[in-house]
Amino acid sequence: MAKRVAIVGTGQTFHKSHRPDVNGQELINEAVLRALDDADLKMKDIDAIVIGNMDHFEGINYVDCWSVDGSGGTMKPIIKLTTGGTTGCTVAIGGYHLVGSGMFDRVLIIGWEKNSESDTTGAITTAFDPVWDRLVFAGAISGLAAEAQAYIARYGASERDGARVSVRDRKHAMNNPHAQLRKEVSLEEVLASPMLADPIHLLDVCPRSDGACAVIMASEDVAEKICPKPDWIWGTAARHSYSYLGDADYGRLTSMREGSQELWKKAGIKEPRKELDVIELYQPYSFGGLIWIEDMGIVGPGEAPRYIWDGNTDMGGELPINPSGGVIATNPIGATGLIRCAEAAMQVMGKAEERQVPDVNFAFSSGFGGCWWTDMILHGKKKPK
């Protein structure tokens, strides 16, 4: 019989642009110890470990094997999953299936990255096909700029609309002691910041960070004994739809649309705008915060700027997005998707401290990466049927 799965504990490091005081394993260990502490469990209680990062950011082969001193994997089952930027969400989904299958009762999930150890753009560029795409691709930002341009052309949005999203997330980060960038920015500051690739300004995008996150999932047989009000996983979806840059439908995130439609159907969500209480969106740049919530079905095509300007996604609004400050405040790439999951879990469990949204019933977390890929998870306070 498949088991229902809940998150019973989370932990993350205090993310920084670089952490010279620890090597990769030691960084992982910090997040692991915090998650164990949050769940009041010991390493011996963990039945299996799922770990993920993007190989080329640290240049370590067989990371699952290398990590054991820090991840606690010595003499345990440990497995590595990696899917680029979506990795953090992918490993959470991995943990969900490991527990859901009935194989393991308590699984530790780790996402980590020490982006300061390598040339981020150089590494990301190796993701793309060496014969067709790699030579003309200029790192993540160029691709995102193309998407933003296409959206602006299709729906008449503007740079100001993007900037408003940055302002929101940077303000939210002020409530999050784990966030890397904790300084508010104004609309004018965003628009005046250096242009990286039209229309993306410096303050429209994420930093790169050193950080780790750990999440513990447990089966329904033991979850409530560990944590009286755990975060139940209602469903997951992932679409890694494209392989070549030219395949994508620029201005619309097809993977988000397909994946979320599947997720709402599976979970019985009819009106996501009404039924979701909080969203932790893997949003590496501001315009994504406009485009992708339309593809999720929160609002219709072209309607996001108005929705956001009206304050609906701010703290206190109808549907807060990124109370943690999101990716624009913190981005250790392999961990980022898992941080979204952990933040959504904390919202459901009522553990989000200063950034808590009141009365959370359903939370949504996502991962983004690769060639316009999206992974996502629906979290809920009640046990699913």
């Binding site: 054991v68 003499m75 345990k76 999953l81 992918t90 299958s101 997951t236 979806a237 992932a238 679409r239």
Partner: protein, 381 residues
């Protein structure tokens, strides 16, 4: 726990260099073979797990290269980085967790496109070890020395593994290196890293394999009689060589213990009919056999000499020719799995063993067999 079964397998030929094919071309071939074997179309596949290594492929997000060719464009998909057995394990959990009923698992590698020494050197710790310049070959050579010292296994016994496996490959049209050789040939081949000669080592090959794993509720619906997964377990030892006893494989012993318990096997020596074991190097076949309790400690070399592990022996090991006859890293475990599935179905053609009701599949991850994964497959549920 619910049960899962393997209902389709597809493998490309293992070759030194598939110069005319990209990763996607290999995946296309393996996936179509698996679908055809199962009597399924891609629409019967609920979700996909690819297995690949960013290091071996020279691209970060290596799964991107094979997603479309594996039919994953509009399906739920994920990627495991590690040996194919780990990919199959994850694929199995996805068929059992209630979300999906059928999972397609692929694994690929093109050794011809990589400089294996540099790639495996990156598995060493960058702060304390990497600069010394060891790689998988020298690491395993060091382990071979340690194992031979403890068990008194001889170079001739190691060589005999190579003779057996390359000889078995003569009956396997998909293998890369079918060869009729002698112990003398192996001992006279170039010494690569003491004590391993060239013929003690597997090649680094190109290949892609795919398996389809289904939940018990649908496993019998398709073309093949299901081959049941009665048990699976994996485990990792310490990372630093200096923390481990290299002459032992603690993690394998632990994983084997768990998998026998899961499969209800009390006497593995008697109850396992056929095995495909990770023989990247000759000493490994002997060492893993002992460490997983299929053979008494330090006895594998002697029993090999008696013919116990030949195709017509008591426990046929690597009847397919093993990795010594063709080794696409990462895909390896799925090739082993496909071979055992074919044995259990009675479909292994030239290298079919007489009795194959219960089979063992073994895969390895990391340096010197740090992490091991073991499956028990069976004709019966």
């Amino acid at each position: 726990m619910d049960r899962a079964a393997i209902i389709g397998v597809g493998t490309t030929k293992i070759e030194k260099s598939k110069v005319g094919e990209t990763f996607a071309d290999m995946a296309w071939e393996a996936v179509n073979k698996a679908l055809s074997d199962a009597g399924m179309t891609i629409d019967d596949i609920d979700n996909v797990v690819t297995t690949s290594s960013d290091f071996w492929d020279g691209r970060t997000i290596s799964c991107m290269a094979v997603g479309d060719a594996s039919g994953a464009a509009h399906k739920n998909v994920s990627c495991v980085e590690g040996d194919g057995t780990y990919g199959a394990f994850y694929g199995m959990t996805r068929s059992l967790s209630g979300s999906y009923k059928t999972t397609l698992v692929t694994g690929h590698s093109k050794g011809s496109q990589s400089v294996s020494s540099l790639i495996t050197n990156s598995a060493f710790d960058s702060i304390y070890e990497r600069a010394l310049g060891m790689d998988m070959v020298t690491a395993c050579a060091m382990q071979a020395r340690s194992y031979m010292h403890r068990t008194k296994t001889t170079p001739e016994q190691l060589a005999l593994v190579s003779v057996k496996n390359h000889g078995n490959a003569l009956k396997n049209p998909l293998s890369q290196l079918p060869m009729k050789i002698t112990v003398k040939d192996v001992l006279e081949s170039e010494m690569i890293a003491d004590p391993l000669h060239k013929l003690d080592c597997s090649p680094i090959s190109d290949g892609c394999a795919a398996v389809i794993i289904a939940h018990e509720s649908v496993a019998a619906k398709f073309q093949q009689k299901p081959v049941w997964i009665k048990g699976v377990s994996f485990c990792a030892d310490s990372f630093f060589f200096g923390d481990r006893d290299l002459s032992r494989a603690k993690a394998l012993t632990e994983a084997a213990k768990k998998v026998y318990a899961m499969a209800g096997i009390k006497n593995p020596k008697k109850e396992i009919d056929v095995a495909e074991i990770y023989d990247a190097f000759t000493y490994q076949e002997l060492m893993w056999l002992e460490e997983m309790g299929l053979v008494d400690d330090a006895m594998a070399g002697k029993l090999l000499e008696k013919g116990e592990f030949n195709i017509d022996g008591r426990l046929p090991v690597n009847a397919s020719g093993g990795l010594l006859s063709g080794h696409p890293v990462i895909a390896a475990g799925l090739y082993s799995m496909a071979a055992v599935v074919r044995q259990i179905r009675g479909d292994a053609g030239g290298f079919q063993v007489k009795k194959a009701k219960t089979g063992l599949v073994h895969g390895v991850n990391g340096l010197g067999g740090q992490s091991h994964c073991v499956f028990i497959l069976d004709q019966d549920k």
